[in-house]
């Protein structure tokens, strides 16, 4: 009994998916990309699922809600689950869009060549310390020494005589990958220290633990903790935009092959003015449209 219902449900789902895909397919009209703003464009319909990065999820969710209120026939389902989940689901074809904090090329076990990258915004990371630490600037070398455990006391880098407590982010998180790549120049963080997932907890722990050091998304830095300059560059939005401050990464939305139909329309909407000029900065990201530099998966920076 249970089995039959289950199979019927599976069948229903497959059917729904086929219908949805057919709906998308039908819109394969000659490259007439929908206008950026919603005014007077042909109605878009169908259903699209975006899965992945929990860091990007709030933005996509908000954008999807706005988009759907303007295009009532469109269905955009946004799910979290993490960048790895997003990438594997889009590669398998289980989701239309895979949200990721890092380039697909950087994840092992994935054929990135079939995925098409759509960058929707930029997120910058700041190195933060306990306010009691008098050090205000660290060089890449010093950061490397701290995060590999070579330097264990602040006085070794010109600070007070105080033990350094390193707080890592989870391995595999986009935040950690970005920090490792651009603040530590790819050097592996081997210093002992706890892995803490939550930005809120990290901020609290850095604020309350003397000698603590960690890193956070820039929008998350407040007065309870102290932001550190890296190689004498202040971590500010302007420095990121100008390409001076290196510790930032794109938020990606991947599709398998070039997107069509609703997926394409929605991705266009994501980089359109409705999202970029309002939502993105409201939610603590940096608009992709403002960036004066561009970076590829290998980390090579070019002026736009």
């Amino acid at each position: 009994m249970g089995k039959k219902t289950k199979w019927m449900l599976v069948a229903a789902c497959v059917l729904a998916l086929v219908v949805a895909l057919a709906g998308c397919g039908n819109q394969n009209q000659p490259k007439q990309s929908p206008q950026q703003s919603s005014g007077g464009q042909a109605e878009v319909s169908g259903s699209v699922t975006a899965v992945g990065s929990t860091a990007l999820q709030p933005l996509v969710e908000q954008a999807a809600t706005q988009y759907m209120s303007k295009n009532p026939k469109a269905q955009i389902v946004v799910q979290g689950g993490g960048s790895g989940t997003g990438l594997s689901q889009v590669a398998q074809g289980a989701a239309n869009i895979g949200d990721s904090d890092i380039f697909a090329e950087e994840k092992s076990g994935l054929d990135a060549s079939q995925l098409v990258d759509h960058r929707v915004c930029v997120v910058a990371m700041t190195c933060v310390v306990n306010p009691g630490v008098t050090v205000g600037n660290l060089t890449t070398k010093q950061l490397q020494d701290i995060f590999t455990g070579k330097v264990t006391n602040w006085k070794q880098v010109g600070g007070p005589d105080q033990k350094i407590t390193v707080i890592h982010r989870p391995k595999g998180s986009g935040t950690r990958a970005t920090f490792k790549k651009f603040a530590l120049d790819g050097v592996e963080e081997t210093a002992p220290g706890m892995e803490q997932d939550s930005s809120g907890t990290v901020r609290k722990m850095v604020a309350e633990t003397p000698g603590a050091i960690s890193y956070l998304a820039m929008s998350y830095v407040d007065k309870t903790i102290k932001a550190i300059k890296i190689n004498d560059v202040e971590p500010t939005v302007d420095n990121v935009i100008a390409g001076k401050y290196p510790v930032w990464s794109y938020e990606h939305m991947y599709t398998k092959g070039e997107p069509t139909g609703l997926a394409k329309a929605f991705l266009d909407y994501m980089v359109g003015p409705d999202v970029q000029d309002q939502l993105v900065s409201k939610m603590g990201y940096i608009p992709i449209t403002q960036m004066k530099v561009e970076r590829d998966a290998q980390g090579k920076v070019t002026q736009k």
Partner: protein
């Protein structure tokens, strides 16, 4: 449970004797009734069989995914179980990805053993109290209290640990860089979580003891304490051990409450205040970040397999204990 088997057998006889279906005149209702009987029985059986099917499916799929790291990625079982290095993202040029789960296995074992160690004496005391010292009070007040304790969701335990216990430990640990997230916080939370399991199983086994034993011991002039210590608790030890093992199983498999308070550091703890990482917390933290089928991901499934194997181990232990207890 087997005690009630006898009436069932009687029923069978009665049914055969009184069943009109066996007669010659098969009325419509009788026919329908017989089909109903067959369908009903089939339905009941298929649902019971579904339980087997689900169990086998879980074992099969977790095993297939969990063994992939050994069969597909070619990691040796030894290096997975005993390796201390967890660098699944280290490029091959620098010594290849390393997936040693030993720190997490040690973390899981330590935190659950300490929890059981703390929780067992209290549980035995409380279960004896409920059965021997003040049965009425125990029944009316403690029984519901323990049920509520069992009903509090594990995230709530985790949240209390995180919002109260961790800061408490941080403040009182002397401020040498201890953050409060620690082995200590982990096993304190767990020890409260497993209390109801151990208490209720032990209490049940104490209740099941024949009353004459106690009376005989008291009649011989032993005090109540002597009776409890020398007669009742030893006699109920099978049940108490079962409860402890069940508690251990629960502690070993608990994920979120532990993850929230232990600090998640892949290191062998050198003190009770050090942060640790368990198998369950590693799975919950990394599962979403990794690509299905990649080596990193496979390593997480292997940790799931270890959890599965451990829960078999606990069940077998219980069965063994019960069997030996019955022989004696």
């Amino acid at each position: 449970m087997e005690k009630t088997m006898t009436p069932v057998l009687d029923v069978e006889k009665i049914e055969q004797a009184g069943n009109p279906v066996s007669g010659a005149g098969k009325s419509l209702t009788a026919k329908r009734r017989r089909y109903g009987e067959i369908i009903g029985r089939g339905l009941a059986f298929s649902c019971a069989a579904a339980v087997i099917l689900i169990t086998l499916a879980i074992i099969y799929f977790i095993a297939v995914k969990g063994l992939a790291i050994f069969t597909v990625n070619g990691v040796s079982i030894r290096s997975f179980l005993l390796g201390l290095q967890w660098y699944p993202d280290r490029p091959a040029a620098q010594g290849g990805p390393l997936v040693g789960a030993a720190t997490m296995i040690i973390g899981s074992v330590l935190v659950s053993l300490l929890a059981v160690l703390l929780s067992t004496p209290l549980s035995v005391i409380v279960s004896v109290f409920m059965v021997e010292i003040a049965p009425g009070w125990g029944q009316r007040v403690l029984q519901p209290a323990i049920e509520i304790l069992a009903g509090i969701p594990s995230v709530v335990y985790g949240w209390i640990g995180l919002s109260m216990l961790v800061p408490f430990i941080r403040i009182h640990s002397g401020g040498q860089g201890f953050t409060g997230f620690s082995l200590l916080a982990g096993f304190l939370v767990l020890s409260v979580m497993i209390l109801p399991t151990v208490i209720s199983v032990s209490a049940d086994s104490l209740k099941a003891l024949p009353g004459q034993w106690k009376e005989a011991a008291l009649a011989l002039g032993s005090t109540r304490w002597q009776t409890i210590r020398m007669v009742l608790v030893p006699a109920a030890r099978t049940g108490i051990i079962t409860g402890v093992v069940l508690g251990l199983a629960r502690a070993f498999g608990e994920a979120l409450a532990v993850q929230m308070v232990i600090g998640n550091t892949r290191e062998i703890p050198h003190s009770i205040l050090s942060p640790i990482m368990t198998l369950t917390s590693a799975i919950t933290m990394d599962m979403g970040y990794t690509i299905m089928g990649s080596m990193w991901n496979n390593a997480l499934w292997s940790m799931g397999l270890i959890l599965l194997i451990m829960s078999f181990f606990f069940i077998l232990t219980i069965r063994l204990v019960v069997k030996r207890g019955m022989v004696k």
